[in-house]
Amino acid sequence: MPEPATPSTELFSSAAQPTLNGRRCRACGYVFFPPQSYGCEYCGAPTDQLEPKSLSGLGSLASFATVHLHQGKEIEAPFTVGLIVLDDGPAVRAILMQRTDDGLKIGDRMRAVIVETNSEGGRARELRFTKEETAR
C-alpha cells in the first residue's frame, strides 16, 4: 500500500500576519500544533481524518524563560523562549524576539513574526513571537 499523501510539513504560512499550520481531527475536533499526519493523539483517528487548520499567530504569553546556557551553534545565549497560548487554542513554544525577559510578563499579548536566521545549512526563515507593542 502506498504511503498516504501528507500535507506540507511547513510550520507556518507567510502573510502580513503569519499563521501557524496546525491540524484538526475530523473525528474528535482536537486541534494541535506542530502538524503531523500519523494519527490523532487524542482519539487515534488515522491520517485521512486529520485536516489542515490554520491557527492565528496571536495569543497570550503563558510563561517565559531566558536561556543562559546553550551548546548549539544556530543561536547564541542568552535568548528567551516563550510559551504562548494561541487564541485558536493550542499552546506553542517559540523563540521570542526579546533577547532577555526584561519587560515581559505572563499575560502579555503576543504575535508571530517571520525572521531570517543564519542556520548551519544557510539562511533560513523561522517563526518567532514578539510582544504586542500596542496597548489593548
Partner: protein, 383 residues
C-alpha cells in the same frame, strides 16, 4: 481476571548495592555494574547462582549491555535483557524483576541500573515532527518555563524554589554514594551560574556515571536461601503509565504523576499521609514542588511553603529525597530509579545512618522519563 502486584504472591527487596554516582571517568561500565551487583549479593547473603533472571536498566551504553557485564559473576545461563525507558529505565528494570517473582516465573531476580553518559540519540528526535524551537528547548528550559508559570500562579519566589536544592544537598552530604556530597547555602544556590530562567546550576541535577542493584525474592526463596526476613522489604505496588492528552490541564508533567501515583496508592491500599519517605524525580528544583502537590502530600500551590517548613526534611512528617535526590545523589539515568529503591529499602530497614527518617515504614519511589512515562513503586515494612 486482572490482578495488582499486591494481589499476586509477595515480592521482597532482599539485597541492595550501589557504585557511587560520579563524574564520567575511564571506569568501564562492567566495573560499575559488578560493584553494585556484588554488593547486593553480599547484602542479601546469597550467591549469584541463586539469581534466575536479570534486567539491566540503561539508556546510553548501547546494545547488549547485560551479558558482557554479568558473565563475570559466572555464566549461569539465566534470562537477561536490557530495559530502556529513558530516565525511568532503572525503575522499569525493578518492575520487570518484581513481575518475574510475583508471577512465580522466578524466585530471585535482579534489577541493575548502570550507565555512562554519552551522546543522546533519542527516538523522539527521529519522528520527523518538527516544532518551532527544536533543540533550543532542552529539559532545563522545559522546567524553567514550568517554574516561571508556577511562581506567577502561586506567588512563590525563586528563593522558595531554590530551597529544594538546599534541602536535598544537605541530605546528599550524608550519602556516600551521592555525586554531590556537600551541603550548600541558599546564597550559594542562587549565586549561579544561571542556566535557564530562574534555574541555577545547583538547581539542575548532575548527570554522571554509576550503578545501582536491587535483588527481589519470593517467600520461598527467603526460606530456602535463609535470607534474613527482618531486613526484607515488601514491594506493594508497581505502576507504570504514559502520558495522555490532558485537554484541560496546563501541566502535563504533574498530571501524569498525579494519575500514576493515585493508582499506586490504590494498589498498595495507602493514603498520601501514610508515606514516611519519598524519592522523587527532582532533576530540577521546581519538579519537587510540582510532584509533592501532585502526590497529594500538600494542597495545590502549597509545595513551596511545605519545603521551607521542614515537614519534608529528614525527621519531618515525610522525608523527601533523603538520599539527596537527583539533585545531589545524581542522575546517571539507568541507575537512578534502581538507586531510589535501594534508598527506600535502606530507610525502611532503619539502616540509613545519619540520614535515617525515624520510624520509616512506608516509602514511595517515583521517576518520570522523556516520552513521557512515569513509574512508581511503593515499599512497605511488614509489621
Amino acid at each position: 481476571m486482572r490482578k495488582t502486584l499486591r494481589q499476586m504472591r509477595p515480592v521482597y527487596v532482599v539485597g541492595i548495592g550501589l557504585h557511587r554516582y560520579q563524574r564520567l571517568s575511564d571506569t568501564p561500565y562492567v566495573t560499575l555494574g559488578l560493584t553494585a551487583v556484588r554488593e547486593a549479593l553480599n547484602d542479601a547473603g546469597i550467591e549469584w547462582k541463586s539469581v534466575e533472571s536479570a534486567y539491566t536498566g540503561t539508556a546510553f551504553i548501547g546494545m547488549a549491555a547485560s551479558r558482557p557485564m554479568l558473565r563475570h559473576l559466572g555464566a549461569t545461563g539465566i534470562a537477561m535483557a536490557q530495559v530502556e525507558n529513558a530516565s525511568a529505565s532503572g525503575s522499569t528494570a525493578v518492575r520487570q524483576a518484581c513481575l518475574d517473582v510475583a508471577s512465580s516465573l522466578t524466585d530471585v531476580s535482579l534489577a541493575v541500573g548502570v550507565d555512562k553518559p554519552g551522546p543522546i540519540a533519542g527516538a523522539p528526535g527521529k519522528t520527523n515532527i518538527h516544532d518551532l524551537v527544536g533543540r533550543r528547548v532542552v529539559p532545563f528550559t522545559h522546567f524553567a518555563l514550568l517554574a516561571n508559570e508556577y511562581m506567577n500562579r502561586y506567588g512563590a519566589t525563586a528563593e522558595q524554589v531554590a530551597m529544594v536544592a538546599v534541602k536535598n544537598n544537605r541530605n546528599g552530604a550524608n550519602n556516600p554514594y551521592a555525586q554531590r556530597q556537600k551541603a550548600v547555602t541558599l546564597e550559594e544556590v542562587l549565586a549561579g551560574p544561571q542556566i535557564s530562567g530562574s534555574l541555577t546550576r545547583l538547581q539542575c541535577c548532575p548527570v554522571g556515571e554509576g550503578a545501582a542493584a536491587v535483588l527481589v525474592a519470593s517467600d520461598d526463596a527467603i526460606e530456602k536461601l535463609r535470607i534474613d526476613r527482618s531486613r526484607a522489604i515488601r514491594v506493594t505496588a508497581s505502576v507504570s503509565r504514559s502520558e495522555r492528552v490532558y485537554r484541560d490541564a496546563k501541566n502535563f508533567d504533574a498530571e501524569l504523576t498525579r494519575e500514576t501515583v493515585a493508582q499506586a496508592y490504590q494498589e498498595a491500599q495507602i493514603e498520601p499521609q501514610d508515606l514516611d519517605v519519598v524519592e522523587l524525580h527532582d532533576a530540577f528544583t521546581i519538579e519537587e514542588l510540582l510532584y509533592v502537590e501532585a502526590m497529594g502530600l500538600c494542597g495545590e500551590g502549597e509545595g513551596a511553603r511545605m519545603i521551607s517548613s521542614g515537614a519534608v526534611d529528614i525527621g519531618g512528617k515525610c522525608a523527601i529525597s533523603a538520599s539527596g535526590g537527583l539533585l545531589a545523589m545524581g542522575h546517571p539515568i539507568g541507575p537512578t530509579g534502581t538507586g531510589q529503591i535501594a534508598e527506600i529499602t535502606r530507610q525502611l530497614r532503619r539502616e540509613a545512618g545519619a540520614r535515617q527518617q525515624p520510624n520509616a515504614r512506608t516509602g514511595l519511589a517515583h521517576m518520570v522519563g522523556v516520552g513521557a512515562v512515569c513509574v512508581v513503586h511503593v515499599l512497605q515494612k511488614d509489621s
